[in-house]
């Protein structure tokens, strides 16, 4: 029983990060039909930039802020320099562009920063709570609460602001959005910026637990993609649930089977979902084409 609880705690913690990646992935996909495989690099950069900003002497809060702003800028540039000029290209071309961008970001990080593993200090100490025989790190709570706050912020933005509505309108019907006077290119740019910030926050929250390094984004992008597919491609709530479920599945299989299978779970999930229920758990966004 304690074991089950333990796997649940760790599953929800990593799953929360997958959920953020999946949500960022979904936001961009809905607004622009681009499957952004550089989403994991946003997470990696969030952690790495915070680490190096702290090494340069900034306090952690300020370093985190610098990292979030920096990653937001990376997201904007990714859209302006790589995606926007390829407007109208096929989705395969666009996927290749984002994979290229992810390789570029990884390479630049390795060259400009370094290739080592890095850690951040836990925000509120490392004395674990013991609950029902299982231990829960304070940082795990920070991750769960932090992710919940991010989700709340995204939800408020989408449901309470005209800018958020213009993003939903662009996702629902891009041509109609243009005819209504929405600057869809700016809206898609905004989706990239928001997704980048979401990823960066995830990276900052989780680095004290998982460490980070220049190549940490590769697996995260795949896991986030798996979460998004599991939840039903294009459904933001599905993406969050899909990410959490994937985290749990991973930790259970690592705990009850073997930790060697952990990373295979994401691939198995992608394949199983695509073969047996391509709509995912929550049903994919119905694609409207004019």
């Amino acid at each position: 029983m304690a074991e089950l609880l333990q796997f649940t705690f760790s599953g929800l913690t990593v799953g929360a990060i997958y959920a953020l990646v999946a949500l960022g992935f979904t936001l961009i996909y809905n607004a622009s039909d681009v499957a952004n495989f550089a989403q994991g690099e946003f997470v990696m950069l969030g952690g790495m930039v915070t680490v190096f900003a702290m090494a340069a002497g900034l306090p952690i809060g300020f370093a985190a802020l610098v990292a979030i702003v920096f990653v937001a800028l990376v997201g904007l540039l990714l859209h302006r320099l790589a995606i926007e000029p390829a407007r109208g290209a096929s989705s395969v071309t666009l996927i290749i562009i984002t994979i290229g961008a992810s390789i570029f970001l990884r390479g630049m990080t390795a060259i400009l920063l370094d290739k080592n593993f890095h850690n951040l200090p836990p925000f509120f100490g490392s004395e674990p709570f013991v609950i029902g025989g299982a231990t829960l790190l304070p940082q795990s709570l920070v991750v769960l609460v932090g992710v919940a706050l991010v989700l709340l912020a995204v939800w408020l933005f989408m449901s309470r602001t005209l800018l958020g509505k213009s993003l939903l309108a662009t996702a629902a019907n891009r041509t109609a959005a243009q005819l209504t006077g929405i600057n869809t290119s700016a809206v898609i740019g905004m989706a990239f910026v928001i997704s980048a910030m979401i990823g960066a926050v995830g990276g900052i929250l989780v680095t004290p637990i998982t460490l980070t390094y220049y190549d940490a984004g590769t697996m995260l992008a795949l896991k986030g993609f798996a979460g998004a597919v599991l939840g039903g491609m294009g459904n933001p709530i599905g993406a969050v649930v899909g990410g959490l479920v994937l985290g749990l599945l991973e930790q259970f299989s690592a705990g009850y089977l073997s930790s060697q299978y952990k990373d295979a779970v994401a691939f198995i999930v992608i394949l199983l979902v695509l073969f047996t229920m391509p709509q995912g758990l929550f049903g994919a966004k119905t694609v409207e084409r004019v």
Partner: protein, 233 residues
């Protein structure tokens, strides 16, 4: 108001508009009739900037608009009610209308919202409902209301009566005439040529991407060829 000169447009390598020239003067209702696939929607989409243009020019009040992006054209006074309504289905009626006002610099859209709800009381009752749950007629009203929220000078309407019951068709055309009395200029695309030409100051007939005839609404209504081809007489 709108002057189109020798406009050509293609889908890929297939040209579907061949040298279209057409004028809409301030305060007019101009109706464009043509059969399925003639290129009516393509023309309206080109005017709104969501369909690329291969050659030719478009002017709004003597300003070349060819290079303006779609949202800028809306801000400068060209709004479109697209074919098939195209409301934002998951968003509420109120949100659809507010988005229609997104280009407005003044941001003071409250009075306009009230006006739309007075014009279409059925929308007022459903302002919190998702647009996708509305009936076809209500969606058409919403699409018109959304376009009007931008306070356009020129309103492009693409088959607003399509698929509606006769009583609703009547209401839509009455609304168009009412908008004209308020000084709005209208370019109307219709298969329902009878009524559409009856309320028009002038009209054009388009066949396979070419304007083949033009005249006042009355002239076209009385023209033998138009009567047999588009009015079923």
């Amino acid at each position: 108001m709108l002057a189109i000169d020798n406009l050509a447009s293609r889908y890929g390598r297939i040209e579907v508009l061949h040298g279209i020239s057409l004028n809409v003067r301030k305060g007019e209702i101009v109706t464009l009739v043509g059969s399925n696939g003639a290129g009516k929607s393509t023309l309206l989409r080109a005017i709104s900037g969501v369909q690329p243009v291969a050659s030719g020019t478009m002017r709004l009040e003597d300003k070349l608009i060819d290079r303006w992006r779609p949202h800028h054209r809306v801000a400068k006074g060209i709004a479109q009610v697209p074919e098939g309504r195209q409301v934002f289905a998951p968003l509420s009626v109120d949100e659809n209308l507010r988005l229609g006002g997104i280009v407005r610099r003044d941001g003071n859209i409250g009075a306009d919202l009230d006006e739309i709800y007075t014009m279409f009381p059925a929308l007022a009752e459903r302002r919190r409902n998702a647009a996708g749950t509305l009936s076809g007629g209500q969606q058409q009203m919403l699409a018109i209301g959304r376009a009007l929220m931008a306070r356009p000078k020129l309103l492009l309407l693409d088959e607003p009566s399509m698929g509606l019951a006769p009583v609703l068709v009547e209401q839509i055309f009455a609304t168009i005439e009412m908008l004209k009395t308020r000084g709005l200029t209208v370019l109307l695309v219709e298969q329902n040529a009878n009524v559409a030409l009856a309320i028009a100051d002038r009209g054009y007939v388009i066949e396979t991407g070419r304007i083949v005839m033009t005249g006042t609404g009355k002239e076209l209504l009385n023209n033998e060829r138009v009567r047999s081809a588009y009015l079923g007489m």
